[in-house]
Subunit: 371 residues, 2 copies
């Protein structure tokens, strides 16, 4: 393997995954004169529509993975559940950014929480649930309400079950298929926020302003930029995110989700909920409200370019178009200060992310009322 550390215009980026994140990464790369090779097993993969090269093969097809990685200057991914063996094969043929340590950390909730705890970053109380006995012990220790989550492959609320009282514990364990799990104490948060942070190959770090996230049916519904928190707390959130990417020797964009707690008369405090080693749905507003979007930022980072400014030039509210929400496209297209982004997916299945839109507002004037 002889690949350049810095990938100049004309270079090629390999992207694992052909969904909307891969698609928006490919378009950001194209704007910088870089071309992309999308690797995805799915019959429909709309990222391939905007990339110069595509491979449709399984994530465990060692030959196809090797050919793919040989054809590109760097490999990145749009989802954290890249199998370890897949990452290992790819890394033999091209740099994988973010690296395999970040991937291994973020794809297992226990490894992630242990990493955060060992770096003195506060999280919700948690316990490893390897079997039924461990579950009962964990419920006794952490108490209820609490949430049982599979260690791996959970997203958008999948692989999760709430435990309202100790009597629910076994039903919850059954509900998640008795998979290796984590029990997390319920956190009475006031806000959910996230920070999109990037780290370059030289260690440079840039973090966007924290945003406030509202979920609906466990799927991100809206992100408000900026979050309704004071500057001190926003700086603290950015510092935590910077701490995480530095400690992981990370290269690329990461999404860091945090809870804001306000307990009694003490000031608010932050807990990290989870990290995503990739561009993140709660950073889509950066496309329209910042000089450099999270997608361009990720491409810059993995190509060894200087990071772009994360400066925000207006307030913004991003809202997802889930399933047949997308049928409202024409009304959104008629709004004067709304940027519409559709993902080119053919079928609007329930729960499927079909697009998003970002409403832009002068500084200080974005609404925060939940409709």
């Amino acid at each position: 393997m002889s690949k350049p550390a810095i990938i100049a215009p004309g270079g090629r980026i390999g992207i694992l995954g052909g969904g909307q994140l891969g698609r928006m990464l490919a378009m950001a790369a194209a704007e910088l004169g870089l071309n992309c090779h999308i690797y995805c097993p799915d019959a429909e993969a709309s990222a391939m529509d905007v990339a110069s090269h595509a491979t449709r093969a399984a994530y465990d097809d060692a030959d196809a993975l090797a050919r793919f990685a040989d054809s590109v200057d760097v490999v990145t991914y749009e989802f954290e559940n890249v199998p370890a063996e897949t990452a290992r094969i790819l890394a033999e043929h091209a740099p994988v950014r973010p690296g395999v340590v970040a991937l291994a950390t973020a794809q297992d909730r226990i490894v992630e929480k242990n990493f955060l705890s060992s770096h003195n970053i506060a999280t919700a109380p948690y316990a490893d649930v390897a079997d039924e006995a461990a579950l009962l012990k964990a419920v006794a220790e952490i108490g209820t309400p609490s949430i049982l989550k599979t260690r791996r492959f959970g997203y958008d609320g999948k692989g999760q079950a709430k435990i309202a009282s100790p009597a629910d514990a076994l039903a919850a364990y059954d509900a998640i298929g008795r998979a290796p799990a984590i029990l997390e104490g319920f956190v009475p948060f006031e806000l959910e926020i996230s920070v999109i942070v990037a780290r370059g190959i030289d260690g440079e770090i840039a973090a966007y302003d924290p945003v406030e996230n509202i979920h609906k049916d466990h799927i991100l519904d809206r992100s408000f930029a900026p979050a309704r928190i004071d500057k001190g707390l926003a700086d603290e959130a950015r510092a935590i995110a910077a701490h995480i990417v530095a400690d992981l020797d990370y290269v690329g964009v990461m999404g860091v989700e945090l809870f804001v707690l306000r307990e009694g008369t003490a000031g608010p405090r932050l807990l990290v909920n989870e990290i995503a080693p990739r561009v993140h749905n709660s950073g889509h507003w950066t496309q329209d409200a910042c000089h450099v979007s999270q997608f361009e930022q990720h491409i810059r980072a993995i190509c060894g370019w200087p990071l772009g400014s994360p400066e925000r030039h207006c307030d913004a509210v991003m809202e997802n178009l889930i399933g047949d929400d997308v049928d409202g496209w024409a009304a959104l297209a008629a709004e004067p200060a709304t940027a519409l982004h559709l993902y080119g997916k053919a079928e609007a299945r329930p729960g499927r992310k079909m697009g998003h839109f970002t409403r832009l507002y002068p500084f200080g004037s974005a609404p925060h009322t939940i409709r």
Copy 2:
């Protein structure tokens, strides 16, 4: 031919031409959930790298043109020199937007000037030069200095020769290959400006703020947004552009180049230099300084969508990267408020447009000093 008037997300746009304008149109379409089919004879056509479908065939290949137009919901183009017969074939199979009248008008300098004059839009003095006798008569009438230009296929200063004194006339005629030509009186302009205007299928019109253009070696070098003109003149320039697209029953984005003259003690006045029935190099700044770029605006117009707001959220200076200018990419990428756009072209030949960058400034603070 049965094609929808309004092209919904999922629809397909045919684009004639595979250069940077087609590429940026294809990316703008993809953001709106539309996909593109690029038709281009060139071996290298970087627009194909970001489009789902591509045909590499000659512009006079009637079968390939018919198949191409059958496969799409609407046809548009990135250059005005689409042969009339090509346009006629395409129009039998799909709507062509902007339409064939606009194309015929803009691709012949005499037809264009006659159109403008007949609609009471001021231009430089001009005369049709069909042969040597007509040339000598035209030089006598219009005087010198004047400029002899081929009626067709001129761009970036190609097909032009200056006539400094009547004695130069025949040499100039030889220089342009004695092609059918137009003689234009030299205009002592103070500024060159342009307006990017769009018209929807329902007649809605939206014009961006006029910009000031600086050329180098007959190629656009820089565009300053906004132009250094007062609001009254800017409104007049926008009104002229609106007048033109309305009179042509135009659909899509048009670039209108104008001269600002200041003669004696009278106020400034505007002459139209030329029109381009397509997205225009002097509108690239809209990608980074406006809610909706000229590329998205063109896609909206030809798909029958409502036009986007042309509002500008900052000042901007766009500069082209010609030939090996592009070698400066790394320094530009390190500038915090600079958006870099590279076109994915392999070879940086002299005079070739390889990319552009747009420096963004708070309102009122863009520089206007010519470096």
